[in-house]
């Protein structure tokens, strides 16, 4: 998995590319802890180039949401394909993490 991070309108955007499996989730967690330590409060994960998410990926997203909530911030996700959106819905994770249609909409409403 490739992870790139940039800041747009005070929101830290984490762009993922590939699959969010076991090893990739460990990598995402590491990258997230680094930006959290640097003071990121509002974090948006862009899933446009993500083709697969497993339970390890879902767990990492929940943990990120919990850590940001504790720090007074929040986590959002955008550009999620229909298969992955289905996963968010059946596991009800969409009730914990706000999902935006695309990045522009996310940054406008975050």
């Amino acid at each position: 998995m490739k992870i790139s991070i940039n800041v747009e309108d005070d929101v830290t955007v984490v762009t993922l590319e590939g699959e969010l499996n076991v090893d990739d989730s460990i990598m995402l967690r590491g990258a997230f802890l680094k930006i959290l330590k640097e003071g990121a409060k509002e974090v948006m994960v862009d899933f446009e180039k993500v083709s697969f998410v497993g339970s390890a990926g879902l767990a990492t997203l929940i943990e990120m949401m919990q850590m940001l909530r504790k720090a007074g911030g929040k986590l959002g996700c955008c550009n999620i394909n229909s298969n992955i959106r289905g996963l968010f819905e059946i596991t009800k994770i969409h009730k914990l993490i706000t999902i935006y249609e695309n990045r522009a909409m996310a940054l406008r409403n975050f």
């Binding site: 499996n21 090893d23 497993g54 339970s55 943990e63 919990q66 298969n83 996963l87 059946i90 914990l96």
Partner: protein
């Protein structure tokens, strides 16, 4: 079609193992459209076998047997652990469990496939999908 493969209980080997199996299973358009769910179920079942069944003991194997006949895909995953009480699995979508970091694997498998069965005290999970 029949496939019989095994892998040692190492998390870092799962992604490659699942991808190689999926390439052999999903070839027709209907199989490709079901590929996400098959991959999800296979992936989660093997993670469970490696982590919870074989307790990540590299000396223990996860055995995967796949048959595809008359539009039905049957995948059996077997570990060499002590088994588990598959009749008492907490529901991960109740409010008290929603934020827990573990416990979604089996729920995802059940949602991704058409039928799920257990045998041998939970050491074997058999997952089926109509293609």
């Amino acid at each position: 079609m029949r496939i019989s493969e095994s892998m040692p209980s190492q998390l870092e080997l799962i992604d490659g193992f699942v991808s190689s199996l999926l390439e052999r299973i999903c070839k027709s358009p209907s199989e490709k459209s079901a590929a996400f769910n098959i991959k999800l179920a296979l992936h989660e079942a093997i993670i469970n076998a490696v982590k919870h069944g074989n307790k990540m003991n590299k000396k223990l194997l996860v055995q995967v047997d796949i048959t595809k006949e008359e539009g039905e895909l049957i995948i059996q995953i077997k570990d060499q652990g002590e088994g588990f009480d598959y009749k008492n699995i907490p529901d991960p979508i109740t409010p008290e469990n929603l934020e827990k970091l573990n416990g979604r694997g089996l729920f995802l498998i059940q949602n991704a496939m058409d039928r799920v069965e257990f045998a041998d005290k939970g050491r074997i999970i058999k997952i089926m999908k109509f293609l």
